[in-house]
Amino acid sequence: MDFSFLDDYEEEAGPEIVDAGEGYRNIWVLAEVADGALCRSTLEVMGQARDLADQIGVYVYGVLIGEGVEPLGQELIAYGADLVLVADDAALAEYQPETYTQALACLVDEKRPEILLIPATALGNDLAPRLAQRLNTGLMSHCTKLGLDMSERLLLGTFPVLGGEMYHTVACPEARPQIATLEPGYFRVPYEDTYRSGDVQQVEVNLSEVEGRLSWTDLDAAVDLPSAPLTKAKVVVCAGRGLQDAEGFGLAEQLAAALGGVVAGSRGAQDEGWIAEEQVVGVGGHEIAPDLYVACGVSGDVYHYFGVQDAKFVVAINADEDAPIMKLANMAVVGDAKQVIPAMLEALGA
């Protein structure tokens, strides 16, 4: 057959497709090391990176920065990395914003990742914005969910705003790499697959022009923060007469400490002499609006409930299933608070 008619055919030039990420490929995970081991949050980030990489068909790189961190490379591979870059340098032994920023910026300029994920730990929160500023790119911080816009090949970061009552989802369409920090505890840790294989590569970074300016004088400082007043506390554990005695009240205090909150009491607890009047919740006491309110052995009559109706999440522990608070609680636990709280403390690992 004669196909010569095809020779005259010229493809019409369509609009030029501009790939903002031209030349930028692969997903990087900055690994955080504490006490010679990978942090749990790093593994969570690794799981997310693997999922995203499989969707857009790229490799996952683990990035290890520090001194003597190379042995951890294989572990990163077992958790999902295809390749691990190790910047091992005596100058990187302790965290310094300047040197860590310089080391990462060097690597990014040279190898051009399209996405860089960092755990939102104390270190990550300190480093990521500085790095983003240095690389002149956008940072989606404190993400609790990641997604992809496949039509534009963009990372979408979702993070809570206004105290977690709402989420914003943002993208970084022009600048590369797209950097996101991931809030610890929101993503699952992937399975460790010791049969995965990959390279652990030593890389050189140029640190000659920068110098860390911080001197860490005490890595285990004791801090005595003023405890949050009852009305501002995020977590409140309220003790009621159902705890029976001072020993039971002690359990409520322990639970409050384990949950990082403060202890309060019902009018009944005040009558028993366990708490002072300033800690009473309810009508005539404080009206509070914590994120989490745990009522232990509190029946929750109307006068009590008016004081806590703005609480975002209520857990009630009470032996009486028909107590008023049990109808109003998000989670109603039927049982003797004096038995349930010790078991909860154990489950919390306190």
């Binding site: 500023q133 943002v170 989670m331």
Partner: protein, 270 residues
């Protein structure tokens, strides 16, 4: 020593209600306040200046408040003046309306440079609304200053600062030379109330100059944001009335697991 405090005015969250089932936010009372992080930053700076009960200050320290925002942020700056700041500047321009954090950093850095640089910049760990926590470190990089974030105790000498910050699971003490950027934890610096006489002066006598994009010599290119907002969404409504029964051990484990799964508590506990 010049201490500069960038502050952010936010919509008072107490005036908002959220209906998760309707996926809407309702503004019941539209009132603007200084965000809790920014207010703590003002307090921390004033303590360094040595006013109030808990000062470790020395003479010759001045505190300057800066705010980028709409014209109404003037109120926030006057409140900062009433608390004890020595001067305040409002950075306001319609061209700043679409600013993201990189643009805000550029505007603030430009303003700091115009003020002749700072010895110390104190700001909140994160804002009370969007809570990104980026301005401090970004500003430090833009100006080439040292940085310490999430600080809960702060002392400043002539040549440097000593700060206690949250680090890993606990706290660490760190020294940094000046100039430096410090971001403070709001829970550690309970803000003072403005002084009555200063409130009168702040509104009647003192000036809050306004600097716009031209004054800061920022062109259109410098004000182009890098991030774009795609969506707003709401968490699913909380379920009411989930009942747990059984022997104490199993029940306790189930409850803790359910609380963790719903992100009511973190993995570590609180």
């Amino acid at each position: 020593m010049r201490i500069i405090v960038p502050i952010k005015q936010i919509l008072d969250p107490d005036g908002l209600t959220f209906r998760r089932d309707k996926e809407r936010m309702f503004i019941n009372r539209e009132e603007y306040i200084i965000g809790p992080g920014s207010k703590a930053a003002v307090e921390a700076a004033l303590r360094l200046k040595g006013e109030g009960d808990e000062g470790s200050g020395e003479p010759g320290r001045t505190v300057v408040a800066l705010s980028m925002g709409e014209a109404r942020a003037d109120d926030a700056l006057r409140e900062a003046l009433a608390m004890g700041c020595d001067a305040a500047y409002l950075l306001s321009d319609s061209a700043f309306a679409y600013a993201d954090l990189s643009v805000t950093t550029r505007v603030l850095a430009e303003a700091v440079a115009r003020l002749g640089g700072a010895d110390l910049i104190v700001t909140g760990r994160e804002s009370g609304d969007t809570g990104a926590g980026q301005i401090g470190p970004r500003l430090a990089q833009a100006l080439g200053y040292a940085q310490v974030t999430d600080v809960c105790a702060l002392v400043a000498g002539e040549d440097g600062i000593e700060a206690t910050r949250r680090w890993g699971e606990g706290y660490a003490t760190v020294k940094a030379p000046l100039p430096a950027v410090v971001t403070v934890a709001p829970e550690a610096f309970e803000p003072r109330l403005p002084h009555g006489a200063r409130i009168m002066s702040a509104y009647r006598e003192w000036d809050v100059p306004v600097w716009d994009a031209d004054a800061l010599e920022l062109g259109e290119a410098a004000l182009a944001p890098l991030l774009t907002k795609r969506r707003e969404s709401f968490p699913p409504p909380l379920e009411v009335g989930e009942v747990f029964r059984g022997d104490p051990e199993t029940v306790a484990e189930d409850v803790v697991a359910a609380l963790r799964q719903q992100k009511i508590i973190g993995q570590a506990g609180g």
